[in-house]
């Protein structure tokens, strides 16, 4: 899961404020326990449905 860190947080040695990081569910719980503000980043689906063009119709 990707999250956007909104408040000051040093994740495994690196300052990640205003940065997106990939975390596990366990790490999310850890971040919550530290009262770090974050937003879950909606990930784009890997395969996008092709929109119908005028030619298809």
């Amino acid at each position: 899961m990707k999250i956007l860190i909104k408040s000051g947080y040093i994740h495994y040695g690196y300052q990640v404020k205003d940065k997106e990081i990939s975390v596990t569910q366990e790490e999310i719980e850890m971040i919550q326990s530290l009262n770090v503000k974050y937003e879950i980043v909606k990930e784009e689906p890997k395969y996008k449905r092709k929109e119908k063009s005028e030619d298809d119709i």
Partner: protein, 191 residues
Amino acid sequence: MAFTPAKDKGGFNPKGGAIIRIKEVNDDGTDFTTASSVYDIGYLQETTILDNTPTTEFKDEAGDTVQTIEGDRSVTVQGVLMQRDKATLDIAKECRGKFYFLYKYNGIVNGKHQEMFYGCGKIYPSFEVKLQGGTTPFKFTATKLNSAISIAATIATAVITAGAGALETRQTATITIAAGDYYTIVETTVA
């Protein structure tokens, strides 16, 4: 944070763990791009872990205390180093202008290893060796963390097992210290 003190005979232990390890970090507690090594500062004669906030009592004209105001908080680790080899004395010269993460092992209390992790702080750049005797004082002052810190299990393990005489496995999970705090105390049941 809730605290739950209670009578427990296992909580006694006058002896410490005799281990302090340090690792250079940036002033905000982040690691260097090239992570620095972990160093054991040597044999310790004694240590004092201190989290002290003096208070000032305000009394009214009748002499009764009406308010107690907390003063400035000071979080330090002090000790006496038993070694006086060059590498130990060089700490005083090398630590100038630098910040360190500090690990302190306090031994086994109540069947649990007690370990303290200080996110960032400064070592007093001094030594004072009296001969005969040969010991020198050590002092570390922790700084308040602006950002919460999580220390990867691999780093925590590297800190715990660094130096001579690798120890039995203790804390092996990720260590966390909350923003606005100075240190965290971790207890792990003895295997």
